[in-house]
Structure formats: C-alpha cells, structure tokens
Symmetry: C2
Subunit: 350 residues, 2 copies
C-alpha cells in the first residue's frame, strides 16, 4: 500500500539541469520514490491540453508503465487529437466524465498533475483526485488556488516536459523512443519551435538528448505544425484581411471572423500559428489574436517581446499565462474588446 | 611572414563534437596554426550567401580580429542585407569588384572559404585568391571543381557554422556575443529553425552553447524570419487563394500572383515561408511554390518528405538543390508550367 509522504509543498525555482543535486536532487528523488511506491497513478493536466500538457502526460504514462506501474491519463478535456499519436495505446487516456475515470481515480494511489498547479484549470478532475496524494510538475506561477501536494516547480524551465525529462533522467529511465518523442513535442511546442524567450541552453540540451533517445525533429515538427486541413488556410486567408498595425507600429493584431470559422467547421487547432502573423511584422512588440468563442465572448491571445509583460494584462482581464505569452476571455462585442485590449496594451508600452 | 603548410587536402567526415581528438583534432589544430600564422586573412563564401555562409564568415572575421589578425570578408555577391546586422562594422565586408578587395587579397596571407568547396560557386573571388594558401570549412559534397587547400569537411554537420564553432572552440576562443550570434544564425537558418532532417544532437548542443555565449534565440529567430512588412501578408493572403491540393492528396502547390507581387512592390524576401503553406497540408509529400520572374519565366520551388527526391526533378528541369529542397526556372506560361511540373512530380510518386 502507498503511504502519503509527510511533507507538503516543496517548490524549487531557477535550478538548472547541470546543477541537479542538493535540494532539487532530493526533491526529484522523493518524487521518484512516490511514483515507485504507487501501484497505480492517475496523470492529468490543464483543460484544453497543449503540446506540453499532452506530451508530458504521455511521457510520464509511458515511463511509469515501463517501470511496471499502472498509469492512466484523465484530463478535464479530451486528449488533443493532434497529439494522440503520442499515446502508444489510445485507451491510456480515459474521458474524465466516464465511469472508468471514476474507477481509475478510486483505485489510484497517486495523482500527478503536469503543466499547471491551479485547481480551476483541472476542471472536473479536481473532485476525482481530491483524496489522492499529489505530485505537481509545473513551470507556471503557483496561482491563487494551488493544487498542493509535492511540487516540482521551475519557472525557468522552458516546458513542464523539461522537468519530466529531468525526473525520468534522475530515475535512470527506462527511456524509449515513445517517451523521447512525447517530451520533444512538449519542449518543441512550448518554445514555439525553439524560438520563444523561454528557449534556454537547458532546453536545447534536453532536445539534443531526446534526439539521441529516438525523437526525430523533422517528423515531430510536422506532427506539431504541419498537419493542417486545407480549410485552415482558407480561414487564415480570411483572417489575414483583418491584420492591423497600430499607428505606433508596436502593436499588431488579427481577428478570426466568426462567420468564416463556423462556415468552415474550424476548431481551435486550426488557429495554431495565427498569432505569429502579427508577431512577425517588423517592429511589433505586442501581437494579439482575437476570436469569438461559441458562447459569444472574446478569446484574446497575447504575445510580447522583452521587456513587455503581457501576463499582467491577461491577469487584469481575468486570464493568465506567462510573461511573454498569455491569454484571457473577455466580454464582447468584438469591436469593444479590441479597443479595450489594444488600449490597455498601449498603456503598458508607454 | 606566413609559411604555406606542406600538406594538401585533409578531409574528415562524420566526426562528432563529442569525439573531437585524433585526426580531426589534429586537423583543427593545424587550421588554428594557419590562422594564427597569418597577419591578414580574407574570408569568402558562395554567391548569394545564405544565413550559414554569411554567419560563418561574420563569426570567423570577429574571431580573427579578436585574436589580433586582420580579417576581411570578400564575397562574390554583396553581403546579404538581412544578415548585415551580424557585422559589427559594415566595412568588414568589401565588395569583390572594388579596388580595395584586390588590395586586401594581395596583402592577405591566407584565404578561408566557408560553406562551399566548389570553385564555380565563389565566382570572381576565385581569381582574387588564386595565389593564396586556402582553408575550406564546409558541409557539402566536394563537387567536381574543388577549391583545394586544407579542408575541414563534415557532411553530417548541420551547417558550416557548426564547424566554425568547433574550430573556435578548439582554439579556445576568444568568444563574444557577436561571434555567438553569427554562428547561431548559421545553425538556425541552415536547419530551417531546427526542423529539417539535418537537426542532429550536435546541432542542438552547439545552439545551447551559443545561447550561453550570448546568442538570444527569440531575437535571432525574429531577425531571420520575423521582420516582414505588412504588405508581405497581403501577398500571402492573395497567394493563399491559389492553394491547390492534387486529387491524390500527396501534392499541393500555391502560386504567387504576379499582378499582386508587382502592385505590392514585393521582393523575394517577402516569399520566405510561402512554400510552407502547401508543405503543411496533412498528407502532402511534395509541396511546390510557383512564381513568375521579372523576365516572364516561372520559378519553381520544390519541397519533399522522405523518401521523395525532388532534386532529380529539379535537375531535369534545369535547376538543382538538395534531395528534399530544390528549385528550377522553367518556361511560361504559368498554367503550362504548373501542369508540366505537377505531372512530373506525380510520376515520381507512382
């Protein structure tokens, strides 16, 4: 039987791969012990899992199973289709609303939460894992309603996947191409293809190791960014017509026309890369993507160049994220939202 | 005075950063000696230098100057404007047709050629450096008319810049952010942003070191790929309307409307990334970009997934390139060229 470790939250910030040892090494060892002590583990991540959440969860599941531990992924929203290829068996991911999910969680000895530390972000999974001891592996600020448990947090890590890499490395594997591939997707997508400000030396070294362990960069790049349906480009075409550069030249944005989005049967996956359009206009420091959600509100995605902090803006708007990549959902109508957000960004640039 | 080393060609293939030593180590040491023995060095690369040629040349010049050696870049075509920021002083690059270039070459003790080993590719610089001892640092096949000299060649290197990194590392520096930045551009652009098949572990480790030495990934990514003017997106928008997927689902192409290209005052730099549109359609194995040149002919850019070889097709059409990325210029009109090229690609896929 699994015994809950005595300790509470044990956060570590700013450590480096090359400096593992000391407090961080002990924390990693403790998490490995918790994993090894569990007969069955439930893994989860935030709603609308991205490549980091999905890749980190898939890698952990493959690692635990290779180590002889039962492992199930129970996410608040379905495992993202573009990353389903990371699951050697699709049944590893169990729909949170299913009877099976309830059973897996009841039978589990431990819950591992990756890529978020905030209760609201794991939605309905919150109640499913309420009574389980928890490990959190994350690279975001803690937030106001932390999940708690034993926490491996490093705000400097490029991705939660880089921390999962560190954990598996500390545990001595076993490694497999499946694990390497899943973690490469995590690191690749959370750095936007090794180009965001979180692309640090550790991140590139982790990627190098993952390639040695069986990740194939071109194949995974295409998997992450190169599997669009033609209608995605029609949506891009219609959205490009909305590209606007602020008179200062420092803010640019595009809007996804809701009519086109609905007509084309688009999904959020089709919007991958749209924010790169305003972002790649020469001189732009803050790029914004606006889209109308199904309930008529406006999803605002913000990207910035150093030193501009868009996280503070997103938080003000009721959202969250990182300093250079953040998002929020605000009230419509669209025109009012654009005016409000662009105005607020303008103040930040002053 | 500089003494020409006795030896001739000393090629090394397939070595790895982690295995430097032995024959490769001695070769590197010998090149360092040649550089140190020279009072003045002329550096050159192939015509229409790309990021690898420009970055490798700029890095070598900065390294040599920091070591107290005079160094000048004399390229067969002007130093590329998008990478001019890599030169701490624009006067380091001397136009090949100038009297100054002739003088610099006369006064030099050594010529270093990067990113090509073929005489025809250095154009008019060939005669300028004819009588100088030469070092060649390259990652391409030797070709039919080799430049000769002392050759550091590694076909597995992701970029010539990765070999320049190895050389400077072997020499013990001195490093500077200028050198790191130039080599990062070399590695970044020759791997298409760490996504082509040449993205190997060594490449990612070199990138990690360069970031530690002062290269800033986001800044350099933006310098290489993210400095578009808004009109580029209008051109993209109008080109997207031409996206066509072959009924087989395996070939896709877009065409750049000449009328829009001219009306918007576009340049070839604006077309960066256009071929990624058909390339990123799910299921596509060969992507093609067609555009009408100023003389009314049709430039055809081909990209393929393994195992499809588009180089053979480009050669048939009178062009060249690599197995997965090749190009040719063919006769118009556009519709006939599209039909002919798509038909030929279809045969290749059979």
């Amino acid at each position: 039987m699994y015994t809950t470790p005595a300790g509470g939250v044990a956060g570590v910030s700013g450590g480096r791969l090359s400096e593992v040892g000391g407090g961080r090494g002990r924390l990693l060892d403790r998490i490995v012990e918790m994993l090894d002590g569990a007969g069955s583990v439930v893994i989860t991540t935030h709603a609308n899992a991205d490549g980091d959440g999905a890749g980190s969860a898939a890698a952990l599941a493959a690692f635990l199973r290779a180590r002889g531990t039962e492992a199930w992924i129970v996410n608040p929203t379905p495992f993202p289709e573009p990353f389903a290829f990371l699951l050697p068996d699709p049944r590893w991911a169990v729909p949170a609303a299913s009877e099976e999910a309830a059973r897996r969680c009841r039978e589990a000895d431990l819950a591992v939460v990756v890529d978020t530390a905030e209760l609201p972000r794991i939605g309905r999974v919150k109640s499913l894992i309420r009574d389980l001891p928890k490990v959190v592996i994350d690279h975001h600020p803690e937030g106001k309603r932390p999940i708690g448990g034993v926490v491996l947090r490093d705000l400097e890590a490029c991705a939660a996947g880089a921390l999962v890499f560190e954990l598996i490395d500390r545990a001595g594997g076993p490694w497999s191409p499946d694990i390497a591939r899943a973690l490469y997707i995590a690191v690749l997508t959370d750095t936007g293809g090794f180009r965001f400000t979180n692309t640090n030396p550790e991140c590139l070294r982790v990627a190098a190791r993952l390639v040695e362990l069986g990740a194939v960069p071109e194949e995974l790049y295409r998997a992450a960014y190169g599997r669009f349906q033609p209608h995605r480009f029609e949506l891009l075409r219609e959205s490009l017509a909305t590209l606007t550069v602020h008179e200062s030249g420092r803010i640019a944005w595009i809007t996804v026309p809701k009519e086109a989005y609905d007509r084309l049967g688009a999904t959020v996956d089709d919007l991958e890369g749209f924010v790169d359009v305003p972002r790649s206009v020469a001189g732009v420091e803050v790029a914004i993507l606006f889209r109308t959600t199904s309930d008529g509100r406006i999803k605002v995605s913000l990207r910035s160049l150093p030193p501009v902090d868009v996280h503070v803006i997103a938080v003000e708007l009721g959202g969250g994220g990182h300093m250079r990549a953040a998002a929020a959902v605000v009230k419509g109508p669209l025109e009012a939202a654009v005016q409000r957000v662009v105005g607020r960004v303008g103040e930040e640039l002053r």
